[in-house]
Amino acid sequence: EDQVTQSPEALRLQEGESSSLNCSYTVSGLRGLFWYRQDPGKGPEFLFTLYSAGEEKEKERLKATLTKKESFLHITAPKPEDSATYLCAVRLASGGSYIPTFGRGTSLIVHP
């Protein structure tokens, strides 16, 4: 069973059509939740880190929020250049280890 689940697996939007991506996690003792963007054939690029429920962070058309069991990545008025795979990862508080667990990603395509 996956500890980190992202939904939907794939999302197609029209330019300007706002939507949200979801990342839910089953583990307890969250130390941090991370969002990355990955373009085809490239490595993931860091977007946000969230640490506590209620926290929000924004960058251009993206806004990440965190509750006790899930995070949302809101995309407002997306443009074709927002097309990418968005990865979520969580880090646990226990053990002192820094090893995040990644979800399988949401592939976003924004049509002009």
Binding site: G32, F34, Y36, G41, K42, G43, P44, E45, F46, T49, L87, A89, R91, Y98, I99, P100, F102, G103, R104, G105
Partner: protein
């Protein structure tokens, strides 16, 4: 800006060959990681290193080994490549004591095909 580079973007090898994937970071980061990424499976950790000459197994270390002789360089070794090791390999680094201690910086990836 942090820069993580990987020796090859694309690599084609034969079954049974010994394969070396090199990763170099230029920001004096202590922690380095090797992942593989496969469609539908996401990122899976192969090995990681907290510091020079230190290594720890990740979730899928079988068939792989690593070497960290210098702080900036982390090598992934496939002792005898097999077709099921065809994948995208991603290297990452992290500074455990800097401002962005939780941020992993990824390289561009090496797409390895084993024939």
């Amino acid at each position: 800006d942090v820069k993580v580079t990987q020796s090859s973007r694309y690599l084609v090898k034969r079954t049974g060959e010994k394969v070396f994937l090199e990763c170099v970071q230029d920001m004096d980061h202590e922690n380095m990681f090797w992942y593989r990424q496969d469609p539908g499976l996401g990122l899976r950790l192969i090995y990681f290193s907290y510091d020079v000459k230190m290594k720890e197994k990740g979730d899928i270390p079988e068939g792989y080994s690593v070497s960290r002789e210098k702080k900036e360089r982390f090598s992934l070794i496939l002792e005898s490549a097999s077709t099921n090791q065809t994948s995208m390999y991603l290297c990452a680094s992290r500074n455990p004591s800097g401002r962005s201690t939780d941020t992993q910086y990824f390289g561009p990836g090496t797409r390895l095909t084993v024939l």
